[in-house]
Protein backbone atom coordinates (compact mmCIF):
# COMPACT_ATOMS: atom_id res chain seq x y z
CA UNK A 1 0.00 0.00 0.00
CA UNK A 2 1.27 3.45 -0.93
CA UNK A 3 2.03 6.03 1.67
CA UNK A 4 -0.82 8.25 2.81
CA UNK A 5 0.23 11.84 3.50
CA UNK A 6 -2.06 13.90 5.72
CA UNK A 7 -1.81 17.69 5.94
CA UNK A 8 -3.66 20.08 8.23
CA UNK A 9 -3.94 23.80 7.44
CA UNK A 10 -4.53 26.47 10.07
CA UNK A 11 -5.46 29.92 8.88
CA UNK A 12 -7.88 32.74 9.41
CA UNK A 13 -11.02 33.31 7.37
CA UNK A 14 -10.15 35.31 4.24
CA UNK A 15 -6.50 34.24 3.97
CA UNK A 16 -7.21 31.47 1.52
CA UNK A 17 -6.21 28.40 3.56
CA UNK A 18 -9.19 26.50 2.14
CA UNK A 19 -8.27 27.57 -1.40
CA UNK A 20 -4.66 26.53 -0.79
CA UNK A 21 -5.81 23.09 0.39
CA UNK A 22 -7.95 22.73 -2.73
CA UNK A 23 -5.07 23.92 -4.98
CA UNK A 24 -2.74 21.39 -3.37
CA UNK A 25 -5.37 18.67 -3.90
CA UNK A 26 -5.67 19.74 -7.53
CA UNK A 27 -1.92 19.69 -8.10
CA UNK A 28 -1.54 16.26 -6.50
CA UNK A 29 -4.53 14.97 -8.48
CA UNK A 30 -2.86 16.14 -11.67
CA UNK A 31 0.23 14.10 -10.84
CA UNK A 32 -1.96 10.97 -10.69
CA UNK A 33 -2.62 10.74 -6.96
CA UNK A 34 -5.76 10.02 -5.02
CA UNK A 35 -6.68 13.11 -3.05
CA UNK A 36 -9.04 14.67 -0.56
CA UNK A 37 -9.30 18.40 0.08
CA UNK A 38 -11.86 19.66 2.56
CA UNK A 39 -12.35 22.48 5.01
CA UNK A 40 -13.80 22.18 8.49
CA UNK A 41 -16.81 24.46 8.26
CA UNK A 42 -17.85 26.63 11.14
CA UNK A 43 -19.42 30.02 11.49
CA UNK A 44 -17.46 31.64 8.67
CA UNK A 45 -16.19 35.11 9.42
CA UNK A 46 -13.23 37.07 8.19
CA UNK A 47 -10.41 36.62 10.66
CA UNK A 48 -11.85 33.63 12.55
CA UNK A 49 -9.57 30.59 12.87
CA UNK A 50 -10.28 27.97 10.21
CA UNK A 51 -8.93 24.51 9.52
CA UNK A 52 -8.62 22.71 6.20
CA UNK A 53 -7.29 19.29 5.34
CA UNK A 54 -5.56 17.29 2.63
CA UNK A 55 -5.08 13.58 2.18
CA UNK A 56 -2.79 12.51 -0.65
CA UNK A 57 -2.16 8.86 -1.50
CA UNK A 58 -1.25 6.40 -4.23
CA UNK A 59 -4.26 4.32 -3.21
CA UNK A 60 -7.95 5.03 -3.04
CA UNK A 61 -8.82 7.03 0.09
CA UNK A 62 -11.80 5.70 2.03
CA UNK A 63 -11.56 7.40 5.41
CA UNK A 64 -13.98 10.31 5.94
CA UNK A 65 -13.02 12.08 9.13
CA UNK A 66 -10.96 15.09 10.08
CA UNK A 67 -7.21 14.61 10.45
CA UNK A 68 -5.94 14.17 14.01
CA UNK A 69 -2.41 12.89 13.42
CA UNK A 70 -1.15 14.86 10.42
CA UNK A 71 2.22 14.37 8.76
CA UNK A 72 2.44 18.11 8.10
CA UNK A 73 0.85 21.21 9.55
CA UNK A 74 0.76 24.54 7.72
CA UNK A 75 0.17 27.68 9.78
CA UNK A 76 -0.90 30.48 7.46
CA UNK A 77 -1.20 33.05 10.26
CA UNK A 78 1.42 33.12 13.01
CA UNK A 79 -0.93 34.79 15.52
CA UNK A 80 -2.65 31.40 15.71
CA UNK A 81 0.44 29.92 17.39
CA UNK A 82 -0.61 31.33 20.75
CA UNK A 83 -4.33 30.55 20.47
CA UNK A 84 -4.55 27.19 18.66
CA UNK A 85 -2.78 23.94 19.56
CA UNK A 86 -1.26 23.74 16.08
CA UNK A 87 1.06 20.78 16.79
CA UNK A 88 -1.75 18.64 18.23
CA UNK A 89 -1.16 15.08 17.01
CA UNK A 90 1.52 16.21 14.52
CA UNK A 91 3.88 13.34 13.75
CA UNK A 92 7.50 13.92 14.73
CA UNK A 93 8.58 12.35 11.45
CA UNK A 94 6.77 15.23 9.75
CA UNK A 95 7.07 19.00 9.93
CA UNK A 96 5.28 22.22 10.76
CA UNK A 97 5.53 25.09 8.28
CA UNK A 98 4.80 28.55 9.64
CA UNK A 99 4.28 31.86 7.90
CA UNK A 100 6.54 34.21 9.88
CA UNK A 101 9.52 36.44 9.38
CA UNK A 102 11.17 34.70 12.35
CA UNK A 103 13.70 31.90 12.17
CA UNK A 104 12.56 28.35 13.10
CA UNK A 105 14.41 28.41 16.47
CA UNK A 106 12.56 31.62 17.42
CA UNK A 107 9.07 30.13 17.06
CA UNK A 108 9.83 26.79 18.74
CA UNK A 109 8.83 28.12 22.16
CA UNK A 110 5.21 28.23 20.98
CA UNK A 111 5.22 24.65 19.77
CA UNK A 112 4.83 22.81 23.08
CA UNK A 113 8.07 20.90 22.75
CA UNK A 114 7.35 19.59 19.25
CA UNK A 115 10.44 17.55 18.32
CA UNK A 116 9.91 17.30 14.55
CA UNK A 117 11.09 19.63 11.86
CA UNK A 118 10.12 23.31 12.16
CA UNK A 119 10.15 25.37 8.96
CA UNK A 120 9.38 29.04 8.48
CA UNK A 121 8.77 31.20 5.47
CA UNK A 122 8.03 34.91 5.30
CA UNK A 123 4.91 34.63 3.15
CA UNK A 124 3.92 38.22 3.92
CA UNK A 125 7.12 39.68 2.51
CA UNK A 126 7.08 37.34 -0.49
CA UNK A 127 3.43 38.02 -1.23
CA UNK A 128 3.72 41.78 -0.88
CA UNK A 129 6.81 41.89 -3.09
CA UNK A 130 5.56 39.45 -5.73
CA UNK A 131 1.87 40.33 -5.78
CA UNK A 132 1.77 43.77 -4.23
CA UNK A 133 -0.84 42.45 -1.78
CA UNK A 134 -0.99 40.13 1.20
CA UNK A 135 -2.22 36.75 -0.01
CA UNK A 136 -0.21 34.27 2.05
CA UNK A 137 -1.79 31.11 0.66
CA UNK A 138 0.18 30.72 -2.58
CA UNK A 139 3.63 31.07 -0.96
CA UNK A 140 2.54 28.63 1.76
CA UNK A 141 1.47 26.21 -0.96
CA UNK A 142 4.96 26.40 -2.47
CA UNK A 143 6.55 25.88 0.95
CA UNK A 144 4.47 22.82 1.81
CA UNK A 145 5.30 21.14 -1.51
CA UNK A 146 9.00 21.85 -0.96
CA UNK A 147 9.02 20.53 2.63
CA UNK A 148 6.69 17.55 2.24
CA UNK A 149 7.91 16.43 -1.20
CA UNK A 150 4.40 15.11 -1.90
CA UNK A 151 5.16 15.74 -5.55
CA UNK A 152 8.07 16.72 -7.75
CA UNK A 153 8.89 20.43 -7.77
CA UNK A 154 8.97 20.79 -11.56
CA UNK A 155 5.77 18.83 -11.91
CA UNK A 156 4.13 21.03 -9.30
CA UNK A 157 5.29 24.31 -10.84
CA UNK A 158 4.03 23.32 -14.28
CA UNK A 159 0.72 22.29 -12.86
CA UNK A 160 0.34 25.42 -10.72
CA UNK A 161 0.87 27.56 -13.80
CA UNK A 162 -1.93 25.72 -15.57
CA UNK A 163 -4.23 25.99 -12.54
CA UNK A 164 -3.63 29.73 -12.18
CA UNK A 165 -4.21 30.28 -15.89
CA UNK A 166 -7.59 28.63 -15.38
CA UNK A 167 -8.42 30.22 -12.01
CA UNK A 168 -7.39 33.72 -13.03
CA UNK A 169 -8.62 33.61 -16.62
CA UNK A 170 -10.20 37.03 -16.12
CA UNK A 171 -7.16 38.57 -14.44
CA UNK A 172 -4.10 37.13 -16.19
CA UNK A 173 -1.90 39.87 -14.68
CA UNK A 174 -1.82 38.06 -11.33
CA UNK A 175 -0.59 34.73 -12.74
CA UNK A 176 3.04 35.74 -12.95
CA UNK A 177 3.03 37.21 -9.45
CA UNK A 178 1.51 34.08 -7.96
CA UNK A 179 4.04 31.87 -9.74
CA UNK A 180 6.85 34.08 -8.51
CA UNK A 181 5.45 33.90 -4.96
CA UNK A 182 5.43 30.10 -5.09
CA UNK A 183 8.93 29.86 -6.53
CA UNK A 184 10.36 32.30 -3.99
CA UNK A 185 8.69 30.47 -1.09
CA UNK A 186 10.24 27.21 -2.31
CA UNK A 187 13.67 28.84 -2.31
CA UNK A 188 13.33 30.83 0.89
CA UNK A 189 11.65 28.39 3.28
CA UNK A 190 13.97 27.85 6.27
CA UNK A 191 14.59 24.83 8.47
CA UNK A 192 14.39 22.04 5.89
Amino acid sequence: MGKLVEIRWHGRGGQGAKTAALLLADAAFNTGKYIQGFPEYGPERMGAPITAYNRISDDKIRIHSNIYEPDYVVVVDETLLTSIDVTSGLKESGAIIINTEKAPEDVKKHLKGYKGKVCTVDARKISEEALGKYFPNTPMLGAVVKVSKVMGEEEFLNDAKGSFAHKFATKPEVIEGNMKAIERAMQEVKGI
Binding site: D26, Q36, G37, F38, P39, Y41, I63, H64, S65, N66
Partner: protein
Protein backbone atom coordinates in the same frame (compact mmCIF):
# COMPACT_ATOMS: atom_id res chain seq x y z
CA UNK B 1 -12.87 5.63 -21.50
CA UNK B 2 -13.96 6.94 -18.14
CA UNK B 3 -13.05 10.51 -17.32
CA UNK B 4 -10.71 10.83 -14.33
CA UNK B 5 -11.88 13.82 -12.29
CA UNK B 6 -11.80 15.39 -8.87
CA UNK B 7 -14.96 17.05 -7.68
CA UNK B 8 -16.83 17.76 -4.48
CA UNK B 9 -19.98 15.73 -3.83
CA UNK B 10 -22.14 18.71 -4.74
CA UNK B 11 -20.23 19.27 -7.99
CA UNK B 12 -20.55 15.58 -8.81
CA UNK B 13 -24.35 15.80 -8.51
CA UNK B 14 -24.48 19.02 -10.54
CA UNK B 15 -22.41 17.38 -13.29
CA UNK B 16 -24.69 14.33 -13.27
CA UNK B 17 -27.67 16.71 -13.63
CA UNK B 18 -25.95 18.46 -16.50
CA UNK B 19 -25.30 15.19 -18.29
CA UNK B 20 -28.90 14.05 -17.74
CA UNK B 21 -30.12 17.44 -19.03
CA UNK B 22 -33.57 17.33 -17.37
CA UNK B 23 -36.53 19.37 -18.59
CA UNK B 24 -36.98 21.26 -15.33
CA UNK B 25 -34.95 21.91 -12.17
CA UNK B 26 -36.70 23.83 -9.40
CA UNK B 27 -34.77 24.57 -6.22
CA UNK B 28 -34.36 26.89 -3.28
CA UNK B 29 -30.89 27.19 -1.73
CA UNK B 30 -30.12 25.66 1.66
CA UNK B 31 -26.76 24.69 3.14
CA UNK B 32 -25.08 22.28 2.40
CA UNK B 33 -26.93 21.52 -0.85
CA UNK B 34 -26.89 25.12 -2.14
CA UNK B 35 -23.97 24.52 -4.49
CA UNK B 36 -25.97 22.01 -6.54
CA UNK B 37 -28.52 24.50 -7.94
CA UNK B 38 -25.75 27.13 -7.93
CA UNK B 39 -23.48 25.11 -10.23
CA UNK B 40 -26.46 23.91 -12.23
CA UNK B 41 -27.81 27.41 -12.83
CA UNK B 42 -24.42 28.25 -14.36
CA UNK B 43 -24.85 25.34 -16.77
CA UNK B 44 -28.27 26.75 -17.63
CA UNK B 45 -27.01 30.26 -18.29
CA UNK B 46 -24.00 28.97 -20.25
CA UNK B 47 -26.33 26.99 -22.47
CA UNK B 48 -24.76 23.68 -21.47
CA UNK B 49 -28.25 22.30 -20.79
CA UNK B 50 -31.71 23.01 -22.17
CA UNK B 51 -33.31 22.84 -18.73
CA UNK B 52 -35.88 25.33 -17.48
CA UNK B 53 -34.45 26.43 -14.13
CA UNK B 54 -37.13 27.65 -11.73
CA UNK B 55 -35.76 29.78 -8.90
CA UNK B 56 -38.61 29.46 -6.42
CA UNK B 57 -39.27 31.24 -3.12
CA UNK B 58 -39.25 28.21 -0.82
CA UNK B 59 -38.70 24.47 -0.76
CA UNK B 60 -42.44 23.88 -0.56
CA UNK B 61 -42.67 25.74 -3.85
CA UNK B 62 -39.63 23.87 -5.23
CA UNK B 63 -41.32 20.52 -4.69
CA UNK B 64 -44.65 21.92 -5.93
CA UNK B 65 -42.97 23.16 -9.12
CA UNK B 66 -41.32 19.74 -9.56
CA UNK B 67 -44.70 18.06 -9.15
CA UNK B 68 -46.33 20.37 -11.68
CA UNK B 69 -43.54 19.99 -14.21
CA UNK B 70 -43.29 16.22 -13.83
CA UNK B 71 -47.08 15.86 -14.09
CA UNK B 72 -46.98 17.94 -17.25
CA UNK B 73 -44.65 15.34 -18.73
CA UNK B 74 -41.18 16.70 -17.97
CA UNK B 75 -38.19 15.04 -16.34
CA UNK B 76 -37.71 17.05 -13.16
CA UNK B 77 -35.08 17.39 -10.45
CA UNK B 78 -34.29 19.29 -7.27
CA UNK B 79 -31.81 19.39 -4.40
CA UNK B 80 -32.25 20.18 -0.74
CA UNK B 81 -31.19 19.53 2.87
CA UNK B 82 -32.58 19.46 6.40
CA UNK B 83 -35.25 22.10 6.97
CA UNK B 84 -35.64 22.51 3.23
CA UNK B 85 -36.67 18.86 3.04
CA UNK B 86 -38.93 19.41 6.05
CA UNK B 87 -40.65 22.30 4.30
CA UNK B 88 -41.28 19.98 1.33
CA UNK B 89 -42.91 17.41 3.58
CA UNK B 90 -46.51 17.87 2.48
CA UNK B 91 -45.49 17.80 -1.17
CA UNK B 92 -43.18 14.76 -0.83
CA UNK B 93 -46.23 12.60 -0.17
CA UNK B 94 -48.13 14.20 -3.05
CA UNK B 95 -45.26 13.54 -5.47
CA UNK B 96 -45.10 9.85 -4.56
CA UNK B 97 -48.87 9.31 -4.38
CA UNK B 98 -49.29 11.06 -7.73
CA UNK B 99 -46.68 8.62 -9.07
CA UNK B 100 -44.30 11.31 -10.28
CA UNK B 101 -40.70 10.12 -10.61
CA UNK B 102 -38.99 13.34 -9.53
CA UNK B 103 -35.28 12.92 -8.69
CA UNK B 104 -33.90 14.69 -5.63
CA UNK B 105 -30.37 15.16 -4.34
CA UNK B 106 -30.68 15.19 -0.55
CA UNK B 107 -27.50 16.44 1.07
CA UNK B 108 -27.96 15.15 4.60
CA UNK B 109 -27.93 17.72 7.36
CA UNK B 110 -29.24 17.76 10.88
CA UNK B 111 -32.83 18.90 11.12
CA UNK B 112 -33.20 21.92 13.43
CA UNK B 113 -33.32 22.43 16.32
CA UNK B 114 -31.04 23.37 17.81
CA UNK B 115 -30.00 25.12 14.62
CA UNK B 116 -27.06 23.29 13.06
CA UNK B 117 -25.81 23.20 9.49
CA UNK B 118 -23.78 19.99 9.77
CA UNK B 119 -24.33 16.39 8.88
CA UNK B 120 -26.52 13.71 10.31
CA UNK B 121 -29.38 11.74 8.80
CA UNK B 122 -32.33 13.20 10.70
CA UNK B 123 -33.69 14.92 7.58
CA UNK B 124 -33.99 11.97 5.20
CA UNK B 125 -34.73 9.46 7.98
CA UNK B 126 -37.82 11.50 8.78
CA UNK B 127 -38.90 11.20 5.15
CA UNK B 128 -38.55 7.42 5.13
CA UNK B 129 -42.32 6.85 5.11
CA UNK B 130 -43.06 9.43 2.40
CA UNK B 131 -43.14 6.91 -0.43
CA UNK B 132 -39.84 8.01 -1.95
CA UNK B 133 -37.16 5.50 -2.86
CA UNK B 134 -34.02 6.34 -0.87
CA UNK B 135 -30.49 5.62 -2.07
CA UNK B 136 -27.48 6.47 0.11
CA UNK B 137 -23.91 7.23 -0.99
CA UNK B 138 -20.60 6.63 0.78
CA UNK B 139 -18.58 9.04 -1.35
CA UNK B 140 -18.73 11.40 -4.32
CA UNK B 141 -18.46 8.57 -6.83
CA UNK B 142 -21.46 6.82 -5.35
CA UNK B 143 -23.46 10.06 -5.19
CA UNK B 144 -22.80 10.58 -8.92
CA UNK B 145 -23.51 6.96 -9.85
CA UNK B 146 -26.65 6.73 -7.70
CA UNK B 147 -28.04 9.93 -9.14
CA UNK B 148 -27.74 8.66 -12.71
CA UNK B 149 -29.27 5.31 -11.79
CA UNK B 150 -32.08 7.03 -9.82
CA UNK B 151 -33.60 8.44 -13.00
CA UNK B 152 -33.91 4.99 -14.54
CA UNK B 153 -35.25 3.42 -11.35
CA UNK B 154 -37.93 6.03 -10.68
CA UNK B 155 -39.15 6.22 -14.26
CA UNK B 156 -39.34 2.44 -14.80
CA UNK B 157 -42.90 1.41 -15.68
CA UNK B 158 -43.00 -1.11 -12.78
CA UNK B 159 -42.07 1.66 -10.34
CA UNK B 160 -43.03 5.26 -11.29
CA UNK B 161 -41.98 6.72 -7.95
CA UNK B 162 -39.78 9.63 -6.88
CA UNK B 163 -36.21 8.88 -5.77
CA UNK B 164 -33.96 10.73 -3.34
CA UNK B 165 -30.22 10.27 -3.51
CA UNK B 166 -28.58 11.05 -0.18
CA UNK B 167 -25.00 11.88 0.71
CA UNK B 168 -23.37 13.35 3.83
CA UNK B 169 -23.45 17.14 4.04
CA UNK B 170 -19.98 18.74 4.11
CA UNK B 171 -18.22 15.40 4.69
CA UNK B 172 -18.70 14.45 1.06
CA UNK B 173 -20.71 17.36 -0.36
CA UNK B 174 -17.84 19.81 0.26
CA UNK B 175 -14.87 17.45 0.03
CA UNK B 176 -12.99 17.25 -3.24
CA UNK B 177 -12.17 13.63 -4.08
CA UNK B 178 -11.24 11.52 -7.09
CA UNK B 179 -14.01 10.02 -9.11
CA UNK B 180 -14.66 8.67 -12.58
CA UNK B 181 -17.22 10.38 -14.74
CA UNK B 182 -19.00 8.95 -17.73
CA UNK B 183 -18.98 10.75 -21.04
CA UNK B 184 -22.03 12.94 -21.67
CA UNK B 185 -23.32 10.76 -24.48
CA UNK B 186 -23.08 7.60 -22.38
CA UNK B 187 -25.14 9.17 -19.60
CA UNK B 188 -27.62 10.42 -22.16
CA UNK B 189 -27.95 6.95 -23.68
CA UNK B 190 -28.18 5.31 -20.25
CA UNK B 191 -31.01 7.47 -18.94
CA UNK B 192 -32.77 7.61 -22.33
CA UNK B 193 -35.68 9.83 -23.15
CA UNK B 194 -38.43 10.34 -20.57
CA UNK B 195 -41.64 8.88 -21.96
CA UNK B 196 -44.38 8.98 -19.32
CA UNK B 197 -47.45 6.85 -19.97
CA UNK B 198 -49.80 9.59 -18.77
CA UNK B 199 -49.10 13.30 -18.61
CA UNK B 200 -51.02 16.56 -18.48
CA UNK B 201 -49.79 18.02 -21.76
CA UNK B 202 -50.94 15.01 -23.74
CA UNK B 203 -54.00 16.48 -25.44
CA UNK B 204 -54.91 13.10 -26.97
CA UNK B 205 -55.44 11.52 -23.59
CA UNK B 206 -56.48 14.15 -21.06
CA UNK B 207 -56.07 13.26 -17.40
CA UNK B 208 -56.53 14.86 -14.00
CA UNK B 209 -53.67 14.86 -11.49
CA UNK B 210 -54.29 15.14 -7.77
CA UNK B 211 -58.10 15.01 -7.59
CA UNK B 212 -60.09 14.08 -4.49
CA UNK B 213 -59.75 10.35 -3.83
CA UNK B 214 -62.58 9.14 -1.64
CA UNK B 215 -62.94 5.85 0.27
CA UNK B 216 -64.14 3.92 -2.80
CA UNK B 217 -60.67 4.24 -4.46
CA UNK B 218 -58.10 5.70 -2.08
CA UNK B 219 -57.18 2.33 -0.57
CA UNK B 220 -56.59 0.75 -3.99
CA UNK B 221 -54.32 3.63 -4.96
CA UNK B 222 -52.31 3.20 -1.76
CA UNK B 223 -52.06 -0.51 -2.45
CA UNK B 224 -50.72 0.18 -5.95
CA UNK B 225 -48.23 2.66 -4.56
CA UNK B 226 -47.04 0.09 -2.03
CA UNK B 227 -46.72 -2.47 -4.83
CA UNK B 228 -44.59 -0.03 -6.81
CA UNK B 229 -42.22 0.22 -3.85
CA UNK B 230 -42.11 -3.60 -3.63
CA UNK B 231 -41.43 -3.80 -7.39
CA UNK B 232 -38.65 -1.24 -7.20
CA UNK B 233 -36.23 -3.66 -5.52
CA UNK B 234 -35.83 -5.76 -8.66
CA UNK B 235 -35.68 -2.68 -10.85
CA UNK B 236 -32.90 -1.21 -8.68
CA UNK B 237 -30.92 -4.42 -9.19
CA UNK B 238 -31.58 -4.53 -12.95
CA UNK B 239 -30.51 -0.92 -13.40
CA UNK B 240 -27.40 -1.58 -11.29
CA UNK B 241 -26.44 -4.52 -13.53
CA UNK B 242 -26.75 -2.40 -16.61
CA UNK B 243 -24.75 0.37 -14.94
CA UNK B 244 -22.04 -2.13 -14.02
CA UNK B 245 -21.76 -3.18 -17.66
CA UNK B 246 -21.23 0.45 -18.56
CA UNK B 247 -18.81 1.43 -15.78
CA UNK B 248 -17.47 -1.72 -14.11
CA UNK B 249 -18.78 -0.37 -10.80
CA UNK B 250 -20.98 -2.85 -8.99
CA UNK B 251 -24.02 -1.74 -7.02
CA UNK B 252 -26.50 -3.86 -5.08
CA UNK B 253 -29.10 -3.22 -2.38
CA UNK B 254 -26.29 -2.97 0.13
CA UNK B 255 -22.54 -3.50 0.15
CA UNK B 256 -20.87 -6.26 2.13
CA UNK B 257 -17.33 -5.57 3.25
CA UNK B 258 -15.49 -8.61 4.66
CA UNK B 259 -18.85 -9.74 5.97
CA UNK B 260 -19.13 -13.33 4.78
CA UNK B 261 -16.72 -14.80 7.33
CA UNK B 262 -17.19 -12.09 9.98
CA UNK B 263 -18.17 -12.79 13.59
CA UNK B 264 -18.80 -9.18 14.54
CA UNK B 265 -20.21 -6.55 12.22
CA UNK B 266 -21.75 -3.13 11.97
CA UNK B 267 -24.54 -1.84 9.75
CA UNK B 268 -23.97 1.72 8.62
CA UNK B 269 -25.08 4.36 6.11
CA UNK B 270 -23.08 6.88 4.02
CA UNK B 271 -19.58 8.30 4.52
CA UNK B 272 -18.61 6.62 7.80
CA UNK B 273 -18.71 3.29 5.96
CA UNK B 274 -15.40 4.31 4.36
CA UNK B 275 -13.85 5.08 7.72
CA UNK B 276 -15.16 1.75 9.05
CA UNK B 277 -13.52 -0.14 6.16
CA UNK B 278 -10.10 1.19 7.15
CA UNK B 279 -10.78 0.11 10.75
CA UNK B 280 -11.88 -3.36 9.59
CA UNK B 281 -8.64 -3.78 7.65
CA UNK B 282 -6.63 -3.02 10.79
CA UNK B 283 -8.74 -5.37 12.92
CA UNK B 284 -8.39 -8.13 10.32
CA UNK B 285 -4.60 -7.72 10.50
CA UNK B 286 -4.93 -8.54 14.21
CA UNK B 287 -6.99 -11.63 13.41
CA UNK B 288 -10.33 -10.12 14.46
CA UNK B 289 -13.16 -11.19 12.19
CA UNK B 290 -14.86 -7.85 11.71
CA UNK B 291 -17.16 -6.95 8.83
CA UNK B 292 -19.57 -4.34 7.55
CA UNK B 293 -22.93 -4.05 5.85
CA UNK B 294 -23.44 -0.67 4.22
CA UNK B 295 -27.02 0.25 3.34
CA UNK B 296 -27.41 1.63 -0.17
CA UNK B 297 -31.15 1.17 -0.54
CA UNK B 298 -33.04 2.13 2.61
CA UNK B 299 -36.47 2.46 0.94
CA UNK B 300 -37.53 -0.10 -0.17
CA UNK B 301 -35.97 -1.82 2.84
CA UNK B 302 -34.30 -5.05 1.69
CA UNK B 303 -35.22 -6.97 4.86
CA UNK B 304 -34.91 -10.54 3.57
CA UNK B 305 -31.58 -9.95 1.86
CA UNK B 306 -30.15 -8.19 4.91
CA UNK B 307 -31.23 -11.01 7.24
CA UNK B 308 -29.62 -13.53 4.90
CA UNK B 309 -26.38 -11.53 4.79
CA UNK B 310 -26.23 -11.12 8.57
CA UNK B 311 -27.57 -14.44 9.86
CA UNK B 312 -24.12 -15.88 10.68
CA UNK B 313 -22.99 -12.82 12.66
CA UNK B 314 -22.62 -13.31 16.42
CA UNK B 315 -22.66 -9.70 17.61
CA UNK B 316 -23.94 -6.79 15.55
CA UNK B 317 -23.99 -3.01 16.02
CA UNK B 318 -26.49 -0.97 14.03
CA UNK B 319 -25.25 2.60 13.61
CA UNK B 320 -27.85 5.35 13.46
CA UNK B 321 -26.83 8.91 12.53
CA UNK B 322 -30.26 10.08 13.63
CA UNK B 323 -31.99 10.09 16.98
CA UNK B 324 -35.43 8.57 16.60
CA UNK B 325 -36.74 9.62 20.04
CA UNK B 326 -38.56 6.33 20.32
CA UNK B 327 -36.61 5.79 23.55
CA UNK B 328 -35.53 2.37 22.29
CA UNK B 329 -33.16 3.21 19.41
CA UNK B 330 -32.77 4.80 16.00
CA UNK B 331 -34.74 4.12 12.82
CA UNK B 332 -32.19 1.84 11.15
CA UNK B 333 -31.92 -0.24 14.35
CA UNK B 334 -35.67 -0.80 14.42
CA UNK B 335 -35.76 -1.93 10.79
CA UNK B 336 -32.73 -4.21 11.12
CA UNK B 337 -34.10 -5.86 14.25
CA UNK B 338 -37.45 -6.39 12.58
CA UNK B 339 -35.65 -7.90 9.55
CA UNK B 340 -33.74 -10.35 11.76
CA UNK B 341 -36.72 -11.37 13.90
CA UNK B 342 -37.72 -14.97 13.32
CA UNK B 343 -34.97 -15.40 10.71
CA UNK B 344 -31.75 -14.83 12.62
CA UNK B 345 -32.79 -14.63 16.26
CA UNK B 346 -29.50 -15.72 17.80
CA UNK B 347 -27.60 -12.52 16.96
CA UNK B 348 -26.81 -10.13 19.77
CA UNK B 349 -27.78 -6.72 18.36
CA UNK B 350 -27.01 -3.30 19.81
CA UNK B 351 -27.66 0.19 18.52
CA UNK B 352 -25.24 3.11 18.49
CA UNK B 353 -26.37 6.66 17.87
CA UNK B 354 -23.36 8.53 16.45
CA UNK B 355 -22.17 11.68 14.71
CA UNK B 356 -25.19 13.90 15.36
CA UNK B 357 -25.04 17.52 14.19
CA UNK B 358 -21.68 17.05 12.51
CA UNK B 359 -19.80 15.51 15.43
CA UNK B 360 -16.76 14.15 13.61
CA UNK B 361 -16.71 10.37 13.49
CA UNK B 362 -13.15 9.19 14.03
CA UNK B 363 -11.70 5.81 13.26
CA UNK B 364 -11.33 5.49 17.06
CA UNK B 365 -15.10 5.72 17.50
CA UNK B 366 -15.63 2.84 15.10
CA UNK B 367 -12.86 0.83 16.72
CA UNK B 368 -14.56 1.39 20.08
CA UNK B 369 -17.78 -0.11 18.71
CA UNK B 370 -15.97 -3.20 17.44
CA UNK B 371 -14.25 -3.55 20.82
CA UNK B 372 -17.62 -3.42 22.55
CA UNK B 373 -18.90 -6.11 20.17
CA UNK B 374 -15.93 -8.27 21.12
CA UNK B 375 -16.81 -7.77 24.79
CA UNK B 376 -20.35 -8.91 24.09
CA UNK B 377 -18.94 -11.94 22.32
CA UNK B 378 -16.55 -12.71 25.21
CA UNK B 379 -18.97 -12.24 28.08
CA UNK B 380 -22.18 -13.29 26.36
CA UNK B 381 -23.81 -10.29 28.03
CA UNK B 382 -25.82 -7.99 25.79
CA UNK B 383 -26.39 -5.17 28.29
CA UNK B 384 -28.14 -1.96 27.27
CA UNK B 385 -28.94 -2.08 23.55
CA UNK B 386 -29.65 1.65 23.09
CA UNK B 387 -26.18 3.20 23.15
CA UNK B 388 -24.22 6.26 22.08
CA UNK B 389 -20.70 6.73 20.78
CA UNK B 390 -18.77 10.01 20.64
CA UNK B 391 -21.04 11.98 22.98
CA UNK B 392 -20.03 13.66 26.28
CA UNK B 393 -22.17 12.45 29.18
Amino acid sequence: MAIRERLSGNEAIAVAMKQINPDVVAAFPITPSTEIPQYFSQFVSNGAVETEFVAVESEHSAMSACIGAQAAGGRTMTATSANGLALMWEMLYIASASRLPVTMACVNRSLSGPLNIHNDHSDSMGARDSGWIQLYSENNQEAYDNFIQAVRIGEHSDVVLPVMVCQDGFITSHAVENLELLEDEKVKAFVGEYKPEHYLLNSKNPIAVGPLDLPNYFFEHRRQQAQAMINSKNVILEVAKEFEKLTGRKYELFEKYKLDDAEIAIVIINSTAGTAKTVIDELRDKGIKAGLLKIRVFRPFPAEEIAEALKHIKALAVMDKAEGFSAVGGPLFNDIKAALYGVADGIKVVNYIYGLGGRDVKADNIEFVYNELQNILKTGQLGETYRYVGVRE
